[in-house]
Each structure stands twice: as structure tokens, then as C-alpha cells.
Symmetry: C4
Subunit: 235 residues, 4 copies
Amino acid sequence: MPDSPIMHEQIRKAVCRANMQLPAHNLVIYSWGNVSAIDREAGVVAIKPSGVEYDSLTPEKIVLLDLDGNIIDGDFNPSSDTPTHLELYRSFKNIGAVCHTHAPAATAWAQACREIPCFGTTHADFYYGPVPTTEPMMENAIKNDYELNTGKAIVQRFADLDPAEVPAVLVANHGPFTWGQDAAKAVESMVVLEQTAKMAIDTITINPQQGPINKALLDKHYLRKHGKNAYYGQK
Amino acid sequence: MPDSPIMHEQIRKAVCRANMQLPAHNLVIYSWGNVSAIDREAGVVAIKPSGVEYDSLTPEKIVLLDLDGNIIDGDFNPSSDTPTHLELYRSFKNIGAVCHTHAPAATAWAQACREIPCFGTTHADFYYGPVPTTEPMMENAIKNDYELNTGKAIVQRFADLDPAEVPAVLVANHGPFTWGQDAAKAVESMVVLEQTAKMAIDTITINPQQGPINKALLDKHYLRKHGKNAYYGQK
Amino acid sequence: MPDSPIMHEQIRKAVCRANMQLPAHNLVIYSWGNVSAIDREAGVVAIKPSGVEYDSLTPEKIVLLDLDGNIIDGDFNPSSDTPTHLELYRSFKNIGAVCHTHAPAATAWAQACREIPCFGTTHADFYYGPVPTTEPMMENAIKNDYELNTGKAIVQRFADLDPAEVPAVLVANHGPFTWGQDAAKAVESMVVLEQTAKMAIDTITINPQQGPINKALLDKHYLRKHGKNAYYGQK
Amino acid sequence: MPDSPIMHEQIRKAVCRANMQLPAHNLVIYSWGNVSAIDREAGVVAIKPSGVEYDSLTPEKIVLLDLDGNIIDGDFNPSSDTPTHLELYRSFKNIGAVCHTHAPAATAWAQACREIPCFGTTHADFYYGPVPTTEPMMENAIKNDYELNTGKAIVQRFADLDPAEVPAVLVANHGPFTWGQDAAKAVESMVVLEQTAKMAIDTITINPQQGPINKALLDKHYLRKHGKNAYYGQK
């Protein structure tokens, strides 16, 4: 007997697969991370259920919501970080997916309340400048609508930044969020962020005075992979 | 011919399984760690035998004792750390299991005689404040009844702390002990402690002046996962 | 039906195999590295295609070029780092292969703009002195013919060094390049460099004032493995 | 047809197996390490052949020598470190095996020319005091009979130390040697040394002023595992 069809199967499958990539890339232990994606035309966000471990995830367990957080379909509670994801989708109109983890090196920078300077071309290949850190949240913003206000702190930090050019942020005292066009890209940004964060710790261990690379090198590396003059990879 | 029944099979199985989780989580090498659990109604403590490697453990080899350390059943010597475990069970009336390892990052904090500050929400999700470190033990307490006195040093350190709110401690110059409702939870606390300890080392490498998160954020994260107003996970 | 023959099959196979060694040795994630080799008699350079992941590489996908960068055979774009490789082949007449990665510890030294001092015999067994770092590139050299100028910066740094004695370099703000007689040897130098770089970070963490080993020890270790009086290994 | 018998098969098998444990414990890459053992009654030392990789080792390839370095049996050159091993066997009359690697954390301490202080009970369980580092070797001792003089530098460092109580040493600017009653024990000491070295680096990162544990704690831990009053493990 065939399985009965499920709503929005494709985005659920993509989100399920992307969540399962988190432990495969050593970005999470237990259920410490979540990926969501949005189908903007349908107005549907698909997100990991709260507290469920990755190896028991199936597309059916992925929760569907609208942009206001109303559940459209799903038997589980959505991730407790859902209001943060939704705020990012409402404010960053061009992103298609969001990823959140407590990946250790990126989280260490978030805990240290420091942005990750662009120390080299590995960083510049993906992020067009430092990976910013939010301002620590005020007591009131923590006590009420905490997860929503986490999203607002990120959006505020990007007032003068383009989320397409820097698809990652560190929430102070907390950890990283990344995003991208689709769920796989949001996870890729998390993998790159963690590797970049690790190398940045070693860089300042070797040379505590090290400053960021110059603008010409940042431009060169970012723009050879992004934008209309990109020449990396296959056409 | 069927196996003959063993006494208290269920708790022995749980303790055996939890001990075997230690190398699976990279928390131990050789036989450097042990897990025990207590059946308070039966007055029985089940603990790993001393110096036996994890992959040769079976429920039958788990040693059963009463709370005074008298052996009830078992062909092996119990872990040499048994008097520490028993002291914790006698003093912390609500814990159901104890775990001890020399997990490297947590042990480094113990060796440095420093408590682990609550640097972020990863820590706050599990521990309601810093993970405390005991006072270094006096010469006399080391020479006589050392393992018992190790337990007493932990209990003394928790004079003003609730073991249910901070299910972990660092014994100065030695290493971590964790606990929980059951053997699996005690091991989970050890896994979380080691990850937290690693991230805390990187945090102070990045920013040696970094202080702990504020009380509002600690409350928010700890209480969204624990207590009557918790809203994380599935009901 | 047999496969149709491919041009220069042997060097393509060796380059394909060497590229696939990069993830096996944990030197790269995604497609962050490339190996090439040269057949000097035939005037042919074989190099990884740009942006292709390692597990989908086949000898057929390896691109063949001449020393001026003209494509001889191949359906893919060559690595975007190709002009760097070619400059090294043109200037270092005795090398047979080049490897480039963003291996994390070596990249941290490159990002810190520091050479790796010869802190011990592990280093001296392979490199006859410190592993040098290039000068940061000028704005003009970055804007025009960047990859070619990266090669020139390396060659300039070796004005007074013998590439056969130090088969590795760190490009400032970027990452390592290594070389060797053939593709396997170029990868071996990258593996050794990464291990050496990691140990050097720990060395200065333990003792920030540590200086390099003395000349006699450097000579002893380098020369017992290299040159006419070598006595390590089997004849 | 049965295999023809080989000389001293048992010790060759033990040495072969112990060498193969080195990569399994992540102590070596390539062929960067060697284990030997001695049969004192027969006057035979069995040691790894030079430059041969571990996965191609067989008992037949293990080289047999006498205590003066004369080859008794074997088709390969013995490890280039053989004179160091032999000097240790001649001077430390009670050891049965020697292990040498460039394990990264222990090598970092050797390169930093620092002994590893006894920072905790993990260390004290195996080593009765700090793991000592030799004096850097003089130019003349490097130029002539280098490997023999490496052994002499170790022996000199142990003038006031008991090799049975501290079965490990760091050769300055080089790396660790360990020993034990048999080949398996010598490797175990290397595993423990590497773990101890790693935790010691993190300990001084957390607290650069941290001193060693006190004598009572050192005695307690070392003596509960060693000597006539040991009470750890099974009888």
C-alpha cells in the first residue's frame, strides 16, 4: 500500500535532509540545532520539531507554519526557536532558509561577544566582511517574547548590512544563525562559518594583533565567487 | 539452556549500557570512568567493576552494593571511586545516578582549579549557574578515606547549591562528576559538560575578560527547559 | 564495450587519486583544494576542474593544459588557481606537482602572516628551515591577474630559498601551497605541513618565547632523510 | 604448505601488533613512530623496520638485533632510532619495551622544552611526578652518534629518577619516548602521555599560574595503582 501523500512534501524532504546534515557535519550534539525553509509563493515555512533527535526525523515530522506562526500541518511542536526564524523570513525578503546550531567554535565567538574579523580568503570566499555579533539583549527583551526579540536583534544588527552578502550572524551570549537560498545552502554557510571560526581562534592565538585583510583582497575573493563577474566553478 | 536470572537485572542493564556510552561519546579512554545508579526503594546501588574495559562489560559484571558499601551481589571489585558515589547518594537525596570521567576539557578546568562560568545559553540550558569546583583537599583528607572525602568535598561545595539545578561538579586537581535522575541522564550531563568546557576554553582564548551572561538570560534558558513553565520539546 | 582511451591517462589518474586524498587526510571540506602535476617532457599539466567535489572526480574530468594555460583536453574549467600552479612550474624547474588547500592549522599561520619556525625534528625531517610566508600582495597585484601574481609572490619569496629543500609556502592572508616530485609527494608535504602547523601552535601556547632548533639538529634530521648521505628507510 | 617457522615468533608478533596500535590510537601518521621489545634471557631485541608503514607490517618484517646492534635476523634495516632504544635497554635494566612517536601534544611540550607538570590525578595515576624533558643536545653529540646520544641524554636525565616510576620522557626539540614491561604497556604509556599532554595544554590556557598537585595527592593516586598497597582493579 502506498504511503498517503503529505502536504508540501518537497520542502519537508529538503528540510528533513538538511537537519540530518547537522550531525553529519559535526555541528550539533543531541538536538541542538534546527533548519527551516520557506516557500514564499505558498506562504509556508517548514521547520524541525522541537527536541526531536536527528536520526528519528522524517519529512512527516517536519512542522508547517505560516509566516505568523500558525501551524498549517504537523503533529509536533515546532522548534522553540521558530519565532526567530519567522522574524528573519519577514525581514530578510530574499532568504529561503535559516539554520541555527551551537557549533562549538562559532558559539565560542558568540559567547566572547566578538565579531569574527575577515582574517583570510577562506572567510572572504563566503562572507563579504566580518561575521557580525548582535548587541547583548536587554532584560525586558529577554523576559518577553525572547525568541522573537532574538530575531529582532539580528535584524537590527543588519540595519546597514546586506543579508545576501553576509549570510551569517552570531547572537551574543548564544550562538550562530546562518541562511541561504535553500536549506542545503543555509547548512553550507554553517559548515563554512564553523571552519572559519576555528581558524580565526588559531589565527589570534598565533598573532593576537592580527588585523583583517585589505579591501582589495576581500573584493577579489568575494566577487570571484559571487555576482555577475564571478568566474569560480563551472558555468 | 536459558541464562539463569540475575538480581536487579533492569538497573544492571541500564548501568551497563550507560558505561558503554562513555567511550561512544569520546569521554574516556581505557577504563577511565564509571557510572552507577541507585534503586532507592530497594536500597541497591549498581556500579561498574574496577579496571574493567567497557567493551567487555555485561550486566552480570555490574556490582550491587547497599548504601553503606556492603556488596550484595557481584564477582568483581566495585569501582575504586565507589565511596564517592555512595556519599553523593546519601547526601543528594533526589539523584538517581552518578557519572565520573576524566573527559579532557572538563578535566582541564578541574586541573586549573577554576569553576566554569556560564558563558552562554548552551551552558544555561543545562546548568543554572557556573559549574562549581571543589576546594583542594587537605593532606589528612587525602591520606585517609580519600574516595569518601572526595564525596564530602563535593557535598560541602553544594552547601548553598541545589544538585538538581547544577547536576555537575569539578573536583579540584582531579576531574568531573555529574548526576541525574537515571544513568542515561547522568551520562548526558557529562556529554554536555564536556562540550560546555571546550567552548569555555575557546571563549576565554578569544576574550580573556569575558564575564558570565546576565541573570535574565540564565533564567530564560534554564527555565524554558526545566520546571513547571518549561516549553521546550514535546509534551 | 571498452572505454575509449583518454589522453595522458597515467598523469590524470595520479592527479585524480591525489585530489581524492585531500578529504581522506582531512585537509579540505567541500572543494577547497586542488592538486596538479606536470609531464615536463610532454609539456602537459593536469589539474583538478574548478568547484567539482572530490568524490565525483574521475581521470576524465581532470583538465589538461600547456604551460601557458591553453587547454589541451577536458570538458571542464580548470581550477581557478591554475595560473598560480603554472607560475610555480615555470619558475621551479624541478618540481613535478603542486598542491593547494585551506587546511586549518596551516591556514591559521598564513592568516597570522607568520612563518612557521622550525620548532623540532618533525619539521626538520621534511623542511630545511622555517616554512616561509609571502609578503601580503599589493592592491594592484590583487586587482589584475591575481592568481598569476599569487604565484609570483611565492617565487619572489623563494629568491634565496631552494624549493627542493622547503617544499611548502604560506601565502599571506590566504593559505598553504606545497609541491613535490609527483602528485602523491605534493599531498604528503601538505599532510606534514598541517601536522607541523598544529604542533607549532601548541608549542607557542606552552612557551611563547620558544625559538627554533639549532643548526646542527636541523642538519642532522633533514640530511638523514635527504641527499646523498641519507640513511633513513630502506635502500 | 605451512609457513616456515620464524625466529622468536612471539616477541615479533607482540612488537608487530604494538606498532600497529600506534595509528589506531592516532599517535602517528605515515611511519612516524616505532615500538621495540626485548627478550632479556635470549638477549634479543625486536624492532620495527625503518620507514615501513604500519598496515604493511608483518611479524616477519620485524628486525631482530642483539644489545650491541648486530642484526640477528631480518631482511630490512631496523628503525633509524634503534641506537636510542638499545641505550635505554642497556641502562634501564628492568624495562621490557620502548615506544617512540611524534604524537602531537606530547611533541609540542618537547618542542617547547618544558616538562609536563603533574597537574592532576590523571597524570598521577601513571607517572610519579612530572614527565621530564632532556637537556637540548650539544652540537657534537648531534653530529656524531646522534641516535645513541639521544639515548644517553635520556639516561642522564634519569640520573635521579626511577624509570619504573616515570615510564616516559620528552626529548627536547624532538618528541616523546615511553617504556614499559612489554610492548603493549609501552604503547599504553604513550597513549596516556598524549592525553595528559593535551589536558596540560588546556590547563595552562585556563590558568597560566597553575602549579602541580600536592605530594599527598600524588602519592595517593600513584600508589593506589602501583606497588604493594595498590587497591585499584581486580586482584
